[in-house]
């Protein structure tokens, strides 16, 4: 293993905060969801990296990532279903315009 752990972590950190940036700035619900995927992905990377470098004999990090991917899939499916439903009812998926359900 010639690559130090920090390198991976730096990349995942950047990915995470890019996701955060996207989550905060995006207006489109789907884009927000994609930013969320970035965040989740960054977290998965971290699990795996810590598992590999710090506890190589165990598999918790990997399994956690697996489950996390599963949950992400489930979450995305439901979210997209909701978004499509919103779109069908309101003809838009822009967060600044979909206000009927606020307050």
């Amino acid at each position: 293993m010639s690559i130090p752990m920090e390198f991976y972590l730096v990349v995942s950190t950047i990915m995470f905060f890019t996701g955060v940036y996207g989550f905060i700035t995006r207006h489109n619900m789907l884009a927000i969801l994609m930013s969320l995927e970035l965040i989740l992905n960054a977290v998965n990377v971290n699990f795996v990296v810590f598992n590999r470098f710090l506890f190589p004999g165990q598999m918790e990090g990997m399994f956690f990532s697996i489950f996390s991917i599963g949950v992400a899939a489930a979450e995305t499916a439901v979210a997209i279903a909701i978004i499509i439903n919103v779109f069908r009812n309101m003809k838009k998926i822009d967060t600044s315009e979909v206000k009927n359900m606020k307050y």
Partner: protein, 170 residues
């Protein structure tokens, strides 16, 4: 310091991840954003391979890329016109986002890079074999994950039902 192939691959993957994730959150065309996300996810799978988690890489490709992203693309097609640009984000909002993300990144990186890690004495280079993974998933002993596995299954089932219920026409 000699440069190994894995290092080169790592740098390439890192560049792809950083560049594409940034592009994915700033691109004003949603389909392009999804495409950049695809690259990020694939590169992440590359990371997993680099770390010798082949099974995980396979899941990443199949679930994320093959499932989730396709779902994204479908819903993008359903909800937006081709070539439609998302409106420019307000400057104040971008600055707010930048402050939080850059601040957070700086803080996190500071912590990351100043930390001493208790490295394992020997980092295993070997791949985890499928048998062990299967054992772990299908058992109820210590370090075995049947229960979460089943929970995820139920969750996915619930998701399927919910998806149908929510998305179907009245």
């Amino acid at each position: 310091m000699e440069i190994t192939a894995s290092q080169i691959i790592f740098y390439i993957l890192s560049a792809i991840i950083v560049g594409c994730s940034i592009m994915s959150v700033v691109s004003r065309k949603i389909l392009r954003a999804a495409t950049y996300l695809l690259f990020v996810l694939i590169a992440t799978a590359g990371f997993y391979v680099l770390l010798n988690y082949h099974f995980l890489a396979a899941i990443q490709i199949s679930v994320y890329v093959g499932g989730i992203l396709v779902l994204f693309v479908f819903s993008i097609f359903l909800t937006s016109q081709v070539g439609e640009k998302m409106p420019q984000v307000k400057l104040s909002r971008r600055i707010a986002g930048l402050i939080v993300s850059l601040g957070g990144a700086a803080l996190t990186l500071f912590v990351l890079l100043t930390q001493n890690y208790p490295y394992a004495a020997k980092v295993s280079e070997s791949e985890i074999d499928m048998y062990a993974i299967g054992q772990s998933l299908m058992g109820t002993e210590r370090f075995q994950y049947l229960l979460p596995f089943e929970a995820i299954s139920v969750l996915l089932l619930a998701c399927i039902i919910t998806g149908i219920l929510v998305a179907r026409k009245k």
